[in-house]
Amino acid sequence: MKATSNTTTTATDAATAELQDFLARQERKDLLRFVTAGSVDDGKSTLIGRLLFESQGIFEDQLAAIRKASGRRGSAHADLDLSLVTDGLKAEREQGITIDVAYRYFTTPRRKFIIADTPGHEQYTRNMATGASMANLMVILIDAANGVTTQSRRHAFIGALLGIPHIVVVVNKMDLVDYDPDVFARIREEFADFAAKLEIRDLTFIPVSSLYGDNVVRHSQKMPWYGGTTLLNHLETVHIASDRNLIDLRLPVQYVTRLDDKTRGLLGTIASGVIRPGDEVTILPGGHTGRVQRVLGPGGEELAQGYPPQAVTVVLEQDVDVSRGNLLVRSNNVPPVESRFDAMVVWMSEGLLETGRPYYIKHATQIVPGEVSAVRYRIDVNTLHRQAVPTLGLNEIGRCAIHLHRPIALDPYTRNRQTGSFILIDRVTHNTVGAGILLDRKPSEAAPSPERWTSQPKSEHVHRHTSRITPEQRTERLGHNPGTLWLTGLCGSGKSTLAYALEERLFQAGHACAVLDGENLRLGLNKDLDFSGEGRSENIRRAAQVAQTLNEAGLIAICAFIAPHRLDREHARDIVGPDRFFEVHTDAPIDLCRQRDPHGLYELAESGEVQFFPGVTAPYERPEAPALHLDTEGATVEQCVDRLVELLRQKGILPA
């Protein structure tokens, strides 16, 4: 864009001079987008009305209409009900509520502002996430008389989740608490305590009365104890320039066009980083490389460099195959490209999330079919506790495993809001049903790790030796056939208890058996493993190998492992051999398991101290067709053992 001051250099007339002076100042202004959050009646509308009114963002005829309506609604406090400024659609006006994100605009001598005004109640999470997605800053309103509420915590959580760098807590209605510094201090302390658990870079507290205007635009005479700045001043001066990522070049290709017979132009908006002619770039997901020949600004002018959020056209030196949806990155800074990853998902649809249902994922400029393969946990946004759930409902947030039909380039959301996010589109209704945020951590943390199962021995110079004793000889001596009973179930479902009770019964009947218990193994053989998906896969793999060895030796192996992943249990079956492997599901309601839990693991899992706890913060995939389903809630240990022995007889392990 041309600089205004150059357009009419011969300007003589006063209007031109005045205007150019004005526009030059306009041009120096940058743009701050902020989102406001508050519960009903915290005074959000009044606050926004006050900001607009005092910065003259309201037109006179609007003001007249508001004056008229103020009288009609019988507003208690002032002759001008400023909350009516932000009043939107008719239905809401009739009900006296706001239900959707509304955008407002105002400008001060220093900055331009776009407010995303999100309602505090019905549909809150969905609307807040929408408003927050583009915001540099979030204003959270707290009613001084009510203090920090569940809702305030929810707002902070969503702000942090959506990566808003600056959060301002406005403690409103200070007039109702006599402008008491202690009230303000208490609220600040309580909120800061909670916020410490979230990732918030910059947290500011301001005591105000929107109704009377204290500390909104003008400093309050009533609160001499407050040494900070006013809300407007904070909005005008908060430093946002360094919030951008100028390091990782990411340019999602929006459209490819022919500039002339030979040259193709790649059109796109720079998500992050800086692009210059001469840069060596890689095109993802394909991985072709090329060199940037020219960067054109909007309108086609040559740029020495492009940076976010410019909409540019890039010409490469070579004619590389590029299409919409590809991502241009600098060759020495390439993000991972994967089709399976974990994301936090905000569910926005009335219908429940369905795992396995085909969805479209729109990530930057590409649409990829895929599915949510599992809901790992749901976050209780009020307590931040993680809960095991099979699905997510409207306004719920949870961590999900995503499986796409094609791999995409993955950036963590904290580094890049554009390439670190996606939306989920229902393939039948075409509605936007969810919003996804890519996580920082390694994507496969809690997922099982198939590589552990399929990897080959490290050296090819190892060879198998065979025993000289036949299985028949062993069976004859021991009086039974070898086999593996694999008890799987939640922590506290009774696996270990039953394993040792069964061992005792078999021992007394003269059989040779051994128990492999998950916890015991982790004290020795498996003490190097953690509870991540990979750690669990390896734990099960080693246990299966040991069980197989015991079976080879003719023994009955009784295995007690949570083994939450179906995939891992399938692999264990392959190692032991399908005709010797019998899966038993020891099943009990999770609340009962929690009661039985002697070591308080469930609590530790909920507080986040123990990670990836099946049933709480990681999924437990129930066996689909176990050899035996044992409901341990309604039966005694003896009865359960009877059924296990019966199973071994049926399967021909024990003599009939």
Binding site: Q26, K29, N431
Partner: protein, 322 residues
């Protein structure tokens, strides 16, 4: 106001230490431009048969300019469509045809001929609300259906009118082209969902986040041509229905009306019968912008269509008005 005086205590423009956009920072106007171009490119990339609604007004002018920049040096990859009531100002028709020829864009002009035949070609046969319904809303629906456009790019802004504050950038219309404020898709980041079923369509508003001042500022900075009606000239006018109407081929003084010559201009352009001029001395673009800066009246005040009833614009949108 109770305790607070409504005077503002912020520094005036002159004394404010403006935060200068630094290295690698775009001014707000450049950011708006980039956002709009992103939106227009997204429509072209994802929609099958998009069209740009061109109303000849200043917002349309900016929109068209952005569309040209979005694809330069290539031509705009979609047609322009003017939904014409036939009651616009002659200056507007001239301007439209000249501009379309100049940039070599395909221009579709659509009129609701059936309604014009039935009700009459004489503007006096039409009230504002019937005109808005038949010659704008219904005409637009006809045109979109006839050409099977699945996306209509329009120049509406959110700050224009209160019900627009909640409008999405990609606004979804059902197969009867209706807008349901309760059933709009959530819009996060700059990722837009353009998926449609047969018969459904999108209205796309790339100028959503622009204010009136931004529009004028951009017109000035980019030297975008505008219809001369925006500039103050001495014009013969009559006063009717609380509006100042310019005498023309369509507006003739009625019994008892006196023609006066007034220095005036238009803040928005529409049909001659329902668009009033406002007294103004702003006879250059510079002065128009200065006047806009001082403006304390919102721009649609002079358009009768909004004042019909409280919440009237919203009713129109529900029915398919853009």
């Amino acid at each position: 106001m109770n305790q607070s005086s409504p005077t503002t205590a912020t520094p005036t423009d002159a004394e404010a230490p403006a935060i200068r956009p630094g290295r690698y920072t775009l001014s707000h106007l450049a950011q708006l431009e980039a956002e709009s171009i992103h939106i227009i490119r997204e429509v072209v990339a994802e929609c099958e048969n998009p069209v740009m609604l061109y109303s000849v007004g200043k917002d349309s002018g900016v929109l068209l300019h952005l569309a040209r920049k979005a694809f330069a040096p290539a031509k705009i990859p979609f047609p322009l469509m003017h939904v014409d009531t036939t009651f616009k100002f002659p200056e507007m028709y001239e301007f439209r045809d000249r501009l379309a020829a100049e940039i070599g864009a395909e221009l579709i002009v659509h009129r609701n001929e059936k309604a014009l035949d039935e009700i009459g070609r004489d503007p006096e046969c039409w009230t504002c609300s019937v005109c808005a319904d038949q010659l704008k809303t219904q005409a637009l629906i006809q045109a979109l259906t006839q050409h099977q456009f699945d996306a209509a790019i329009c120049g509406a802004r959110r700050d224009e009118e209160r019900s627009r504050a909640k409008e999405r950038i990609f606004s979804f219309r059902n197969n009867r082209m209706q807008w349901d404020p309760r059933n709009q898709r959530p819009e996060l980041w700059n990722v837009y969902n353009t998926r449609l079923h047969k018969g459904e369509s999108l209205r796309v508003f790339p100028l959503s986040n622009w204010t009136e001042l931004d529009i004028w500022h951009y017109i000035y900075a980019e030297s975008i041509p505008v219809v001369s009606l925006y500039l103050a000239r001495p014009r013969p006018v009559v006063y009717r229905d609380g509006m100042m109407l310019m005498v023309s081929n369509i507006i003739q003084p009625r019994e008892g009306e006196r023609v006066e010559e007034v220095m005036c201009r238009y803040r928005t352009l529409g049909c001659q019968l329902c668009t009033g001029a406002a007294p103004s001395e702003a006879d250059t673009l510079e002065k128009v912008i200065l006047e806009t800066i001082q403006a304390t009246k919102s721009e649609r005040q002079n358009r009768a269509v909004d004042q019909d009833r409280d919440g009237s614009m919203e009713d129109k949108k529900r029915e398919g008005y853009f």
